[in-house]
């Protein structure tokens, strides 16, 4: 099933907007294989799924880290890759891969995770691919040891190259990964702030169609509040930009049982619709174990699409645990440093105005910590130098043990695996 769009060239932003107008949640896999035939089968099956779907090429870790030689060697030696090596493969192979699958009714997005993405962006623009993902912070801190300043420069160069590749106002499309960061245990306000700031960064470098992300955390009500906060800030900070919200199904340690995984995905789709997200990126029942098959991906797309249909009416008012106020304080603290987001971000991290809990990257201060409250909300334990006061009723910081860390990391997994 596809949504109708009236352009002659694929426009990711228009496709999603049309689907949202028609009341359909767009569903998308995180799919990527090294093998060409499998990748092709995956795209064909995604398109044929009983859902309004868009396609994905998720790139492998060698391509992400810029080691295209290692990717080429792996292909030659038959070593299985964890994604599609778009730079290492000759262009004509990718053209053939997409031929007859990708069109206006089935846009395809490239997802990578690179802090040095110039090669990837050059390849995308050569191939005429109009949608990808990333950000100077969100593709640096969780994905590399590249100094943040360098990552920002790389992303300025790449974003501007991409913006020049088809600047008609609705193409090309860039999504911020800021709503995920390390996948788990980051309080929502910081995710909202980073996602918003990266969206504005893209706009400052010429992109006029963006998506802002937010990843499902541990409490549906807190997630609804976060998405509403993100939408509110987007209205204020991205006035002349086409934008939508993309919701990620849980990005942390996943339930091990197929039933637990399905329940968690269904919750993601329902929260996404209720909170006004236009697109959801699914996970699969194989998430906890290995790279999912094509069939597992299709199943996940359809499970999510069905759950979205029964989500109920959108919420207009969420609870008030302070996500919007905190996110706004973080955004303003960064803009106070410099209205040029690219210049402001490295300094913000240096000064600890932004500080990501549990992040090992050398440019992250590491004074902030989070914990899971008795009410099941993700909360701040300490906020370092961020402009966020730690609530007086917050838990008392204690030495983190291996067991305590595992308990937090497995909180969602346990809840959903036990519900089955």
């Amino acid at each position: 099933m596809t949504a109708d769009v009236d352009t002659t060239r694929p426009s990711f932003g228009d496709f999603v907007a049309a689907a949202q107008r028609n009341g359909h949640l767009v569903v998308q896999p995180r799919m990527g294989f090294g093998d060409l035939e499998r990748m092709r089968a995956g795209l064909v099956a995604t398109r044929a799924a009983d859902a309004v779907s868009v396609g994905t090429l998720t790139l492998d870790s060698y391509t992400r880290t810029g080691d295209h030689e290692a990717a080429r060697r792996a292909l030659a030696d038959g070593v299985k890759l964890n994604g599609y090596p778009i730079v290492a493969r000759p262009d004509h192979e990718t053209v053939e891969l997409l031929d007859g699958v990708r069109d206006v009714a089935f846009p395809v997005q490239v997802r990578h995770g690179s802090s040095r993405p110039q090669d990837i962006f050059r390849t995308l623009t050569r191939l005429g691919l109009e949608a990808t993902e990333g950000g100077p912070v969100s593709y640096c801190l969780p994905y590399s040891r590249t100094p943040l300043r360098e990552a920002v420069d790389n992303w300025v160069e790449s974003t501007e190259l991409f913006a020049g590749s088809g600047a008609d106002g609705r193409r090309p499309h860039l999504e911020s990964f800021g709503g995920c960061m390390l996948g788990q245990l980051c309080p929502p306000s910081l995710l909202v702030a980073i996602s918003l700031l990266e969206g504005v960064f893209f706009r400052q470098h010429g992109i006029r169609s963006v998506s802002l992300s937010y990843a499902q955390q541990i409490h549906p009500a807190q997630d609804e509040e976060a998405v509403l906060a993100l939408r509110r800030l987007a209205v204020e900070y991205l006035p002349d930009t086409q934008w939508h919200i993309v919701f990620y199904a849980y990005m942390g340690v996943y339930p091990r049982s197929p039933r637990g995984a399905a329940l968690l995905m269904e919750q993601a789709a329902r929260t996404a619709v209720r909170a006004g997200a236009a697109r959801v990126i699914v996970k699969t029942e194989a998430e906890a174990h290995r790279i999912p098959t094509v069939e597992e991906n299709v199943r996940a797309l359809e499970v999510s699409a069905r759950a979205a249909e029964t989500a109920g009416p959108p919420v207009t008012e969420a609870g008030e645990s302070g996500v919007l106020a905190e996110a706004r304080a973080l955004v303003e603290a960064v803009l106070d440093i410099d209205p040029d987001i690219g210049r402001a971000l490295p300094r913000a991290f240096e000064r600890g105005r932004l500080d990501l809990p549990f992040c090992l990257h050398p440019d992250n201060r590491g004074q902030a910590r989070s914990y899971i409250g008795d009410d099941g909300y993700l909360r701040w334990l300490s906020t370092g130098n961020m402009p966020i006061p730690v609530p007086v009723d917050s838990a008392v910081p204690s030495r983190l043990t291996a067991d305590a860390l595992l308990t937090m990391l497995h909180h969602v997994e346990q809840r959903y695996d036990r519900a089955t």
């Binding site: 870790s61 060698y62 040891r145 090992l360």
Partner: protein
């Protein structure tokens, strides 16, 4: 290498990812686990080039190097890593183990495991083999004695 019984001995270990792997929760976990076994831990972090790990080993002279990878390239990356490290003068015998989710299929690749051992790893652990890892550390006398 037997160190048990020497009072005050505090083993030092390095925790490291591989060159292509950016996952870090596994590294934080392994660091805490080793610290709770009495180790002083140097955590090198994500995406570690082979040269950087070699330099860190020469600088810190650890009693144990724990390589952890979950992105599915672990077998392949660890092979390059062990060949590189074993060829560095001074690192021919430094105790090196690797573990995590090493392939993309969710199963132990027996052939690859054998190659890693042949090339010089002291042990290769699947993701659920934390018990085996603890035993390995104890058997090598690498538990702090107070």
């Amino acid at each position: 290498m037997f160190r048990g019984g020497v009072t005050g001995f505090r083993p030092k270990s390095i925790v490291s990812s591989t060159v292509s792997d950016s996952h870090t929760w596994n590294l934080i976990f392994m660091q805490l686990l080793l610290e709770e076994m009495g180790h002083e831990v140097v955590n090198i972090g994500a995406c570690v080039p082979e040269e950087l790990l070699a330099d860190a080993c020469l600088e810190h002279r650890p009693d144990l190097v724990v390589v952890s990878s979950v992105n599915g390239h672990g077998f392949n990356d660890a092979l390059g890593l062990i060949r590189h490290l074993r060829a560095v003068p001074g690192l021919e015998r430094i105790p090196l183990v690797v573990g995590g989710k090493l392939g993309v299929d969710g199963v132990r690749d027996v052939g690859f495991t054998r190659r890693l051992l042949n090339e010089g790893f002291d042990a290769v652990f699947a993701e659920h083999e934390l018990g085996g890892f603890r035993e390995f550390v104890s058997a090598r006398g690498l538990r702090a004695v107070s």
